[in-house]
């Protein structure tokens, strides 16, 4: 930073500041004139939307924290007080709790867009990995945030998820005790979860900064998956994409507002309006919807893995579930090295596109499996079997299908440039 050419500004004050600290040059270079592929579709809005949601969550969160009490005897009532007595408190809370869901929606679309158009491929591997790190940090933050209202789902969700760590051999139980700060989820746990829930968004913000920085080193991918070859292929970020992003964001916010103002509890669970009770477990513990696919993978492993024909267990069902759940996210981290096919975009890879769309369906199916109780049936199939089948496809997609396609899929002919691709698309339309 600080190197490179400065831009001269007409405004004297701006120029004076910029000579000493080239903030305006930075903004102008990275968001003003930044050359951006001209052929983005609306999928490319979701990065900006996710950024907006992060800021909205931080801002509403700060004001909610001013009225929240992280103590087991008072947390539930303090949240109710926010709803009932604090000026606009109901709105801040409804925005914050639905905002978590909509932040995840934006990020899931953003991730899927990356997979569809091959945005993780060289030279954008680190950009992709930073994105996965953001996703992991979001999951941790959302999980701890859900504990704060201290309802039944908060308490029992926290119990179940922290108990995952007890599956780790030898040190598992000590780790769980350390996480709890006691012998069950209790006041120390709530206190530290509040502290961390307040901290993590700023860590996310820092990683988002790195993510954007990495993006601006290699430039954006685009729907054709081929790099811009000249000025005819790009547009300055402002005003073309600032305006397009704003429009997309507003449409997204309309949907968001429908939930916030007309169905604020639709995405939540009624059990969280009962105060936490360490003696009564809800009949059916489910995490928030955005965790359901991974929750289903966790529950899919219901068998011990050992040496065949002996009684020796190497990996217990519990540990197996935990490994497969974390592994499923770990696969995203190494995706750039699993998929080495030279063509990026699904547009020119019909086979990959087919398997990816099946993957999307399977992922949603996993979400459904995660929402159902373990003994439920699905068109005559036990839900556990559906869970195993879907988990198998999830892993198979990354570890078998993608490597297989690397060698076998020829793909369609790539257009010479983005410009050509746009013209070609327009010709086809006409």
């Amino acid at each position: 930073m600080g190197s490179g050419e400065r831009i001269e500004f007409d405004n004297k004050v701006v120029n004076w500041i910029d000579e000493r600290l080239p903030l305006f040059t930075l903004m102008q270079k990275e968001y003003g004139v930044f050359p951006t592929p001209r052929n983005f579709n609306y999928f490319w809005n979701f990065g900006a939307i996710a950024m907006f949601m992060l800021i909205a969550m931080i801002v509403t969160g700060i004001f909610l924290a001013m009225n929240y009490t992280p103590h087991v005897d008072m947390a539930f009532d303090s949240v109710e007080r926010i709803d009932r007595d604090v000026n606009w408190g109901w709105m801040l809370r409804d925005i914050h709790m639905n905002g978590a869901s909509f932040f995840f929606i934006a990020v899931y679309v953003h991730i899927f867009r990356g997979m569809y158009y091959g945005s993780y491929k060289k030279p954008r591997e680190l950009l992709w990995i930073l994105g996965v790190v953001i996703f992991l940090l979001m999951m941790a933050t959302a999980f701890m945030g859900y504990v704060l209202p201290w309802g039944q789902m908060s308490y029992w969700g926290a119990t179940v998820i922290t108990n995952l760590f007890s599956a780790i051999p030898f040190v598992g139980d000590s780790i769980v005790t350390l996480l709890w700060g006691g012998f069950a989820i209790d006041n120390p746990t709530l206190n530290r979860f509040f502290a961390l829930h307040y901290l993590m968004p700023f860590v996310i913000l820092a990683v988002v900064f790195l993510h954007v920085w990495a993006l601006h080193i290699c430039g954006s991918n685009n729907p054709s998956g081929i790099e811009p070859k000249g000025k005819q292929d790009t547009l300055p970020f402002h005003p073309y994409y600032t305006m397009k992003d704003t429009f997309g964001l507003l449409v997204f916010l309309v949907v968001f507002c429908v939930f916030v103002f007309y169905a604020p509890d639709y995405l939540g669970h009624p059990d969280n309006y009962k105060e936490a009770n360490s003696l009564v477990t809800p009949a059916h513990i489910v995490p928030e919807w955005y965790f359901l696919p991974f929750y289903a993978i966790l529950r899919a492993i219901t068998f011990d893995i050992g040496i065949p024909f002996t009684d020796i267990t190497i990996i217990s069902a519990k540990l197996g579930g935990v490994i497969s759940m974390f592994g499923s996210i770990g696969l995203l981290l190494i995706l750039p090295w699993l998929d080495t096919h030279p063509i990026r975009s699904c547009r020119y890879r019909p086979k990959y596109k087919f398997f990816l769309l099946v993957f999307l369906v399977v992922f949603c199916m996993l979400g459904y499996v995660g929402s159902q109780s373990a003994d439920a049936m699905f068109f005559g199939l036990p839900m556990t079997l559906v869970g195993i089948l879907c988990t198998t496809y999830y892993y198979g997609f990354f570890l078998v299908i993608i490597p297989w396609l690397n060698n076998t899929e020829k793909g369609r002919d790539l257009p010479k440039s983005i410009h050509d691709a746009v013209l070609q698309a327009e010709r086809e339309k006409a």
Binding site: K244, F247, V255, Y262, H269, P270, C364, G367
Partner: protein, 252 residues
């Protein structure tokens, strides 16, 4: 665009149902409530009747800790009426100069007094079954309004194969059908002053209206604010669409 919207739809609509409760569950019959829908509001007369039912019947076992007398202005009472209602109750305050707790008439700023000292006392007095706090009962149940109405009106004679213990009752809509609450309401039990029928169904409907308000007192403000916010965003989005089209017109 369409694809991304579809994706949002898929993600949002992945059903997050999963019914709580063990045993057989009968879905409660669906009612249309005064507060349902985009423009739904609370029926103040029903709220006042529902409050009367709560005071005279439910309040002997069920607390409503999240509510204060001052909230009753939402029901259409004015300040002096609320003060009068509060004055009928006494609350424990203190300690005074001598360090003793004392009783005094409730003020509008006081919370609704609970019928029992604590949850243990409440459970003990009710044969081990804790009567839940009703402040959030509607939000804490799937299909809350319909469910509570169904429970209140769903007491039936137990079928022959049902095993009921002392102090247990058979209710069609209770998950598992066994409920520890005796049938709380019956025709003619509460005397309405506004000419509404003194029937079980009317009592149940009114008390559901009241309990829905108790859990969601800011609903009307929420819907009104939402309408303004959404209209603003739609118009803004329309303008931005125009701006975007203009800017992009020389690219295509």
């Amino acid at each position: 665009m369409i694809r991304s919207l579809l994706l949002i739809a898929v993600l949002v609509l992945v059903p997050v149902t999963g019914f709580a409760g063990g045993g057989e569950t009968v879905p409660p019959p669906h009612h249309h409530w005064h507060f349902s829908g985009v423009n739904g509001t609370y029926d103040k007369a029903a709220l006042q009747r529902g409050y009367k039912v709560y005071r005279e019947v439910c309040a002997s076992c069920h607390s409503m800790k999240q509510l204060s007398f001052r909230n009753l202005t939402d029901l259409g009472y004015d300040d002096s009426q609320v003060k009068a209602i509060a004055g009928e109750y006494s609350v424990v305050d203190g300690p005074n100069e001598e360090g003793k707790m004392f009783e005094r008439p409730a003020r509008p700023s006081d919370a609704f007094p609970s019928p029992f000292e604590n949850d243990k006392a409440a459970a003990y007095a009710n044969g081990g079954a804790l009567p839940p706090d009703l402040s959030l009962i509607i939000k804490a149940r799937h299909h809350g309004p319909d469910y509570i109405h169904a429970i209140l009106t769903g007491y039936k004679d137990a079928p022959h194969d049902a095993h009921l213990l002392e102090g247990q009752y058979w209710n069609k809509y209770m998950p598992g059908h066994v409920i520890a609450m005796a049938p709380p309401l019956s025709d003619g039990q509460v005397a309405y002053e506004d000419g509404s029928p003194d029937t079980l169904d009317q009592y149940a409907s009114d008390v559901v209206e009241f309990l829905t308000w108790a859990g969601d007192p800011y609903m009307e403000t929420r819907k009104r604010t939402g309408m303004k916010a959404i209209i603003f965003l739609l118009v803004f989005a329309g303008v931005m669409y125009g701006v975007k089209r203009k800017i992009w017109s020389d690219v295509h």
